[in-house]
Amino acid sequence: MPNDEKKGGGPVVTLRDRFLVFPTQPIPDLSLPSAMAYQAEDRRERDKSVFALVVKPGIPARIPVLRLLKGVDNPGLMHLVEWGVADWPPAGRKAMIMIYMRPLGGRVWDEDLPNFKRFDEVDAVNKLIKPAEAALKTLKSIGVVHRAIRPTNMFWATPEKDRVVLGDCASVPPAFEQPASLEPVESALAIPAGRGDGYYSNDIYCLGASLAVLLQGRNIAANSTDEGVIRHKMVLGSYSALCGEARLPLALVELLRGCLCDDANERWEVDAIDLWLNGRRLTPLVPRFEKRAIRSFPLSGKEFMTARELAIGIYQNWETALPQLGESKLELWMSRALDNKDKAAAIAGVMGAEVTAIDRRMVSDVTIAKICMLLDPTAPIRYKTVSVMIDGFRWLLPMAMANNGDVRTIAEALMRELPKAWMETREAYSPDNSVMESGFRTQKGHLDRGSIGSGLERVLYEMNESVPCLSPMLLDDYVVELRDLLPALNAYAKKKGENPGGTAIDRHIAAFIAARATFDVDRLITDLSSPDASRSVMTMINLLAMIQWRLGQSGMSHLSAWLANLAKPAIRTYHNREKRRALEEELPRIGREGNIVELSRLLDSADEKGADYRGFEEAKAQWMEAYRQAKAIVDGHEEIHEEASRTGQQIASLISITAAFITMTFLLLGMIF
């Protein structure tokens, strides 16, 4: 929370009541493209030199990685001391802040600075490879893939510059800031936000690529386009692309070839680096190049000699590619020019399905995507404008949503089950793929439903626990966990004043709750989409009350006052007018107390509702009986004439006979006596 404390003439942000961050004192030397570094201070240990990295809004930090890295002390890693969300005055909202031990020797490599002294063999081994190997070993032991190993994210730990530490890896999605030249080919082919969490082999490659740059004192791929670098790597291998003809220390060539091996399965692992450091020399890996065709495949004016290059060409000419592949041209090229009859048969199967399809446009896109997968199984999933690794959807989607990206195409790719198609083109079985396929099937179910609490928003939060709630109501906040939700809504209600109106649970918040709640909320989430306004409002209150009760959070007076205002339609679920009046008088008081649970109990008590229902049913029966009787009376007005006539005549007859009888009797008595 920003407090009144001042240092250097500016406001101070306090993180977890311990660390002071000074927004007016940035540190460009330690900043990253998506996270600015600022001066910070540890109030408990003032002599400890720390700095803060503040993540830019709209970029999800890797929360599980932060949890795992906090407190990890390793000679090759920048020490993460603390992390958390705090108000950030320069942005006027909350931001993710990470406190790191400050590396005292500055950045290892800065592209903008000339006269960089390149690493020699001894420096490379002692100052870089050894601490980096230790860091990678530790990362592997805790299950973290760094995905941000590059020269510009390496820092000298000491003023003497005797040890390099790997910089922050949690402030951005995996490999988001990595230059394509330093990434393995398959990762470089994906758009930066969709490179995915990757595997440990990715870190090994990046270490090798960084080492190549530092040994040469320049990045020879820097002047080429990403496409050019990738093509070079594909044709001649990564070692050639990154080291060229440079004369590198012979001992390190073995390491570089091992780390820069383009086949991830053959690439060195951290244990191999350990062995290498301990003096065990291995045979350098010989690069294996992709098979070239005996004749090229023409596509949109270009000639392609390998299947992988052709896949890139198809992706770059998405709209016009399919007609050029038809009439069995691609199959024939695969079987004759590349002598790969199995792939040719697979492509024929995919193309055959396209011909018989009803919705040609939709199937065409899926067909192109599948052809790309068959041509280059290691490449990302490509679909229209999107190129994303199978584990990159979870990062690409939030980045696209938060930054108004092409969300529709990503959703289409998921809806059309491209991840499943990707799994089907794998050449070997992997248990990880089965788990992922099951996950994607679940996400497709959410997409199919589309109601509030499902849809793309649900997929967003289900796939990635690092994504903060992107509801427009919570944009100024940073709600990553369910326990942050009610305070954030309370703050929103406070900011909006007496009656913010609208709804307290929009599509994003509903999906966020459904994805993050560890207790059963499915029925309530379903009821949120009830067409009955009073029912849905009541469900909203019950849902928030359940969260408050489960998490034991109190003092939500602004939120409960807002809910009390929104609850007015819910009062109408009671039939008894007297009860309604009583509730209307009671609501404001409960609202001020900040107790949503009490509010829910007041409005949705099963006993009260039952009594009201029974009373209403009884009243309905009474009303109906009265109505029937009244109707019988009115209907009887037409028959009453006949009845009155008959009765009148009967009475007249009776009077007449009685008169005769009385007259006769009196006369007889008169004569007798």
């Binding site: 009265a626 009155a644 009765t647 009148g648 005549q649 009077i655 007449s656 006769m664």
Partner: protein, 168 residues
């Protein structure tokens, strides 16, 4: 035994009883000629009423007859307890006062017959309106306490469709 008409014996029995009664009455006629003369002449309005009354219940001739008989009671008793002779009966018949009394009474019978039904109808209407008002008041109170929804619109519509709309 007549299996085709098991009631056949009963019908013959009724016919024979009626026959016996008619014979008995015919045998008594010579002894009641004066009474019959007086009754015939004095009860002519009742005879007319009996012949003209086409209603199912035939209350008109009962009503007229009763009053007519009451008006003729005095001369009839005088005949029975005085001189039960034909000449005296004719004397009574020709007495203007006796006949005027009998016929006036018959007229009163008609009057009674025609005025009683409207009076009864007025009373019945007043009673039913008061009952309907009480029911309407009860319905209004229920609606005030439970809202308009308490009037089960669907049931009302079903009933209205079955029996035509009503206006309370």
């Amino acid at each position: 035994m007549d299996f085709a008409n098991p009631m056949g014996g009963g019908a013959r029995k009724v016919s024979s009883t009626r026959m016996i009664m008619m014979l008995t009455m015919i045998s008594l006629i010579p002894f009641s000629i004066p009474t019959l003369i007086l009754l015939f002449a004095g009860m002519l309005p009742s005879l007319v009423a009996a012949l003209t009354d086409r209603s199912h219940a035939r209350y008109a001739w009962i009503c007229v007859g009763g009053m007519n008989f009451a008006g003729l009671a005095q001369p009839l008793l005088t005949l029975w307890f005085g001189h039960h002779e034909v000449s005296y009966a004719i004397h009574q018949v020709t007495n203007i006062g006796n006949m005027l009394m009998a016929y006036s009474a018959a007229a009163a019978g008609w009057l009674l017959y025609f005025t009683a039904p409207p009076i009864v109808m007025t009373v019945m209407l007043a009673t039913s309106k008061r009952r309907a008002a009480a029911l309407k008041s009860q319905m209004d109170k229920l609606e005030e306490e439970w809202g308009k929804e308490v009037a089960s619109r669907r049931q009302m519509e079903e009933e209205a469709a079955a029996a035509g709309e009503i206006d309370l």
